[in-house]
Amino acid sequence: MTPVRPPAPRVPGAVNWLGLWTLYVKEVRRFAKVGTQTVLAPLVTTLIFLGIFAFAFGSRAGAVGGVPYLQFLVPGLVMMAMVQNAFANTASSVMISKIQGSIVDLLMPPLGPGELALGIAAGGVTRGLVVGLAIMPILAIVVPTAIHDFGFILFHAVAASLMLSLLGLIGGIWADKFDHMAAITNFIITPLAFLSGTFYSVERLPKALVVVAHLDPFFYMIDGFRYGFIGHADGSLGAGLVVLTVANAGLWWFAYRLFAIGYKLKA
């Protein structure tokens, strides 16, 4: 008689790659399914902003940062669309899972806090980059845009999308109601995205605000991204790389801790 062996547990390696990939694919499918809202809508919104500024000032605005105003504006608009969508993706995903109770489907599988945070944040980064890739070529048709340094474009696109994805993740874990999320978007994310040099050179700001701008990670992500196109930066590029890396590392650690202790998730 052969001995009956009990079913052995599956042993994931150091990283549960299959689980991580599955979570990532789920996050991507979530926004791809409603592409009209998640990709087409930001495109239309960005074109409207471009239209507003072109009609209002296109003819009389002088050069900004050494290039015509609309060339200065386009990278800022693209960055704004990318970060708003990266934020919206992770925030709404976590928020809706919590409210509908399906968050247990993420907490039950053999995924560690790092895998959870990475899978969800990578979904947000993907949405940010997809939106940027969809918008940039169309804006480049309307406003002639050259590429000065592709490395800076890529680094800042990824770093900014990651930063806002992590912020959305943390916000989604913290928020108890949709109202809370709307408040974060209305009173923190949109003002930061609007006032950090998207539409103007921060050198135009009053002195006191220039100092504030140089402490604002949003400023560095827009400034560095724009440098990749027009070859001019308002702030220090080196400082920008450091600020964005540190901000992302800090937010990553924070998101990891929240998942590890189960803050508002397992309580």
């Binding site: 809202q37 507003i52 009609f55 209002a56 605005a61 209305n186 003002p191 609007f194 006032l195 135009r204």
Partner: protein, 271 residues
């Protein structure tokens, strides 16, 4: 011996006058209180995002005393932003409640109530209109510390603000009837209402549009709302106020007629 029952006085139907004022008031208040309860988004959020636009334009172009159509820039922009806020808020209020009720399956409660079609539609639209005007007043209050905004023509201001709110309240309610999912409402808000509110002269003089745009804008009712509200605040208008008033009355009448027909037939609500 049989006892003949006396005349039975069963429950009699409650008589209404010409208008069921209690019902209309209740439905109106339901819509308005929804907006008030969500004040962080509907009032404060609107004020915050409008202030942001003002700040962006000020920092980007305002420092050197820029003018728009002969007015100081912020005085030109502020009325446009207030009008755009009123339009967007009225549309949202009109459609969101209806879509929500339909999605949750509780719109039957509104249809069951002893209200005529006109009472039902009127109460819903007026709630959206009132909420939007409150939202506009909040934006105005937020602007006052930064921009002098004493109305030059209060009657025109009130007329055009109300006509714009009513138009978008009607439009929102119609979209709410039409929408089967949240996506449909989202699409209408993003692809129709927002572009119309932002591209109809809220941010620039229509003289800076290309000639075809200048011609097309005369057929855009939202342009007359923004222009009329700006006239009310500053006394400066780019289009004809009389044409605008007649046009807006006609559009509102047509929208009301359509809504009354569709709501009365139960289009996408009773089927």
């Amino acid at each position: 011996m049989t006892v003949s029952p006396g005349p039975l006085s069963g429950p009699t139907p409650r008589p209404f006058g010409l208008v069921n004022w209690i019902g209309v008031g209740a439905l109106f208040w339901r819509g308005l209180s929804r907006i008030l309860k969500d004040y962080r988004d509907t009032l404060l959020g609107m004020a915050a995002s409008s202030l942001l636009f003002l700040a962006v334009f000020h920092f980007a172009f305002g420092a050197d005393g820029a003018q728009m159509a002969g007015l100081p820039m912020l005085r030109f922009l502020a009325p446009g932003l207030i009008a755009a806020a009123i339009c967007q808020q009225a549309f949202d209020a009109g459609s969101v409640m209806l879509v929500f009720d339909k999605m949750e399956g509780i719109f039957a409660d509104v249809l069951m109530a002893p209200l005529t079609t006109a009472e039902r539609g009127g109460a819903m639209v007026l709630a959206a209109t009132a909420g939007a005007l409150l939202s506009g007043a909040t934006v105005l209050a937020a602007f006052l510390p930064f921009v002098p905004l004493a109305p030059a023509a209060p009657v025109a201001l009130l007329f055009f603000a109300t006509a714009g709110a009513l138009m978008h309240g009607l439009l929102g309610t119609l979209v709410g009837l039409w929408a089967r999912r949240w996506d449909h409402y989202q699409a209408a808000a993003t692809f129709v209402v927002m572009p119309l509110a932002y591209l109809s002269g809220a941010f620039y003089s229509i003289e800076s549009l290309p000639p075809i745009g200048q011609w097309l804008v005369r057929f855009n009712p939202v342009f007359y709302v923004i222009d009329g509200v700006r006239y009310g605040f500053t006394g400066h208008a780019e289009g004809s106020g009389a044409v605008g008033a007649v046009f807006l009355l006609a559009v509102n009448a047509a929208l009301w007629f359509t809504l009354h027909r569709l709501l009365g037939r139960g289009w996408r609500t009773k089927s």
